[in-house]
């Protein structure tokens, strides 16, 4: 307390500057997170979060001018270079991203600071009246080390565990961020730094809440996504041969499509790779003109990252009313005449429901087998990202249309136009 009073008398401005900078930083962090929940504001949200971070560091510089800058700058420079390399070259997509490893690094950092604080009982240079001492300090540091290690484990799990292959990955990384935030907050308690306590607490629950939201979109609990079942036997079953595959061409597909009353389109990763959304939308339009009811079924994990299909379909000007989430789509499939799967595999694999040994077991399923006929446009019979065999391809009602999604869809479009002069004129 003496230290604080001395500072007050010596430099009132300096005494107020640090709290004000920290308060502004907290406001930016909260607003940034809020904006990041809205599609149109998300980028501004990132900017605010970045400003919050810069302000937190600025506050520290004001508060701790006595620190030896050489080693600090060396550490900052090393982190900056590593962060730039990972941030600019790392893959953004689901399943291979560097985000989980970054989360693990954050956990490690919290553990190292806590261990370092454990090594000595010296008075903390900054904290003064705010820093914990004795038993409470030990407890906070212990909790910091435990949750930092939890963040490390979750980060590694998200990078390499069963969740890494599925749509649960964002949930596990959010959990890791939550643990890392808690660890930071505990470090903040032990060291007496208010901004670390506040932002740590904020992230601890924000991460947990996000993990729960992502997991519930998949019909699961966050901890179950992180540690629960996932493909143990997936690779062995992938080697199984297909016995009953029927292939057919665009012509036959077009004929069945134009005679249907209801068609469900199921786009996947392959459609994104082939950039086939315009060709697909074109077909949907021609079918609609003929009076066929057309809907798109969007799986939460379709594409590179969740929401990818919505962006592509929006780009192809597909009416939002035709786009259904997986559960609504399954209801439509019950009386659909045709399900047309475009470059998707794991998301239409019935093993998610009935094969506990499969890598995809427990994932949401777009149950195309409910439709009377299924057409699957795919480049080959190779397994998808999860490495699992797909029993759908062996079903009697399934027809494989092998080839590049865009070329096949364009060929189907040509057939539809040729066979339906009325629609072509319209």
């Amino acid at each position: 307390m003496n230290v604080v009073m001395n500072v007050t008398t010596v430099n009132a401005l300096g005494n107020f500057a640090v709290p004000i900078v920290y308060i502004a930083s907290t406001v930016f962090f909260v607003l940034g997170l809020k904006l990041m929940c809205r599609v149109r504001r998300a980028r501004r949200g990132v900017t605010l979060l970045g400003l919050g971070f810069v302000l937190a560091l600025a506050g520290l510089v004001l508060e701790a001018a006595h620190l030896d800058p050489k080693l600090v700058l060396a550490g900052v420079a090393a982190g900056l270079v590593l962060g730039l390399i990972v941030g600019l070259t790392g893959k953004v997509e689901l399943g291979a991203g560097f985000a989980p490893l970054l989360a693990a690094a954050g956990g490690v950092a919290a553990v190292l600071v806590a261990v370092s604080a454990f090594l000595s009982d010296e008075a903390w240079p900054l904290g003064g009246a705010l820093a914990l001492e004795g038993g409470p300090r030990g407890a906070a540091l212990g909790l910091a080390i435990a949750s930092g290690l939890a963040a490390l484990v979750l980060g590694v799990l998200a990078a390499q565990g069963p969740a890494a292959r599925g749509s649960g990955q964002p949930s596990v990384v959010a959990l890791a961020a939550s643990a890392s935030g808690l660890a930071s907050a505990m470090v903040g308690f032990a060291l007496g730094n208010p901004i670390v306590v506040t932002v740590g607490g904020l992230v601890a629950t924000a991460g947990w809440t996000l993990a729960a939201i992502v997991a519930s979109a998949l019909g699961r609990e966050p901890l179950d996504v992180a540690f629960g079942s996932g493909g143990k036997a997936g690779e062995s079953s992938a080697r199984d041969e297909y016995r009953n595959v029927k292939a057919c061409g665009p012509e036959e597909t077009a004929m069945v499509l134009e005679n249907a009353r209801k068609v469900v389109l199921v786009p996947g990763y392959g459609m994104a790779v082939a950039q086939a959304q315009h060709a697909l939308a074109e077909i949907a339009k021609m079918l609609s003109l003929r009076g066929v009811k057309v809907v798109y079924a969007i799986h939460p994990a379709a594409g590179l990252i969740p929401g990818h299909m919505n962006i592509l379909l929006d780009e192809a000007k597909v009416p939002a009313a035709q786009i259904l989430e997986w559960e609504a789509a399954n209801a439509e499939l019950a009386d659909a005449d045709v399900a047309l799967v475009v470059g998707a595999n794991d998301i239409v694999n019935p093993a998610t429901l009935n094969d506990a040994t499969s890598a995809v077991f427990g994932m949401p399923l777009i149950d195309v087998a409910r439709a009377r006929a299924v057409f699957v446009i795919k480049r080959s019979l190779r397994p998808g990202a999860a490495g699992a065999k797909n029993a759908l391809f062996d079903l009697p009602q399934t027809n494989m249309v092998l080839g590049d999604a865009k070329k096949v869809l364009q060929a189907i479009g040509v057939e539809l136009k040729a066979q339906t002069p009325a629609a072509a004129a319209a």
């Binding site: 997170l33 620190l67 550490g75 601890a204």
Partner: protein, 103 residues
């Protein structure tokens, strides 16, 4: 150590935790991954503590731990923000083929 002041800090933590829970609300599927990435980036706020440990004149072991922690946390922050930004750019560009895309 002043117990009264410390209790204020604990209260800040509790309130921040409630704000963190309530501010994440109505997140569209599209933003799950970018928000995950941003949360991940700011979870490394412990970099502030790490800088203090690295810059104080402690014995060698603690300084090494501190500098390593600064590097690890800074990497998490910078990498996390850049990846988040690239994800959001990808949405704007509309697909993996565009120049902002991640492939």
């Amino acid at each position: 150590m002043d117990t009264g002041l410390i209790l204020w800090t604990v209260m800040m933590f509790v309130l921040a935790a409630f704000v963190g829970h309530h501010v994440i609300h109505g997140v569209p599927t599209l933003l799950h991954t970018p928000l995950m990435s941003a949360t991940n980036a700011i979870s490394a706020i412990s970099v502030v503590g790490a800088i203090v440990v690295a810059g104080s004149e402690y014995q060698t072991v603690r300084t090494i731990l501190g500098v390593t922690a600064v590097a690890a946390a800074m990497c998490n922050v910078v990498g996390g923000f850049l990846i988040t930004e690239r994800m959001l750019k990808m949405f704007k560009g509309g697909g993996p083929g565009s120049k902002g895309g991640g492939r």
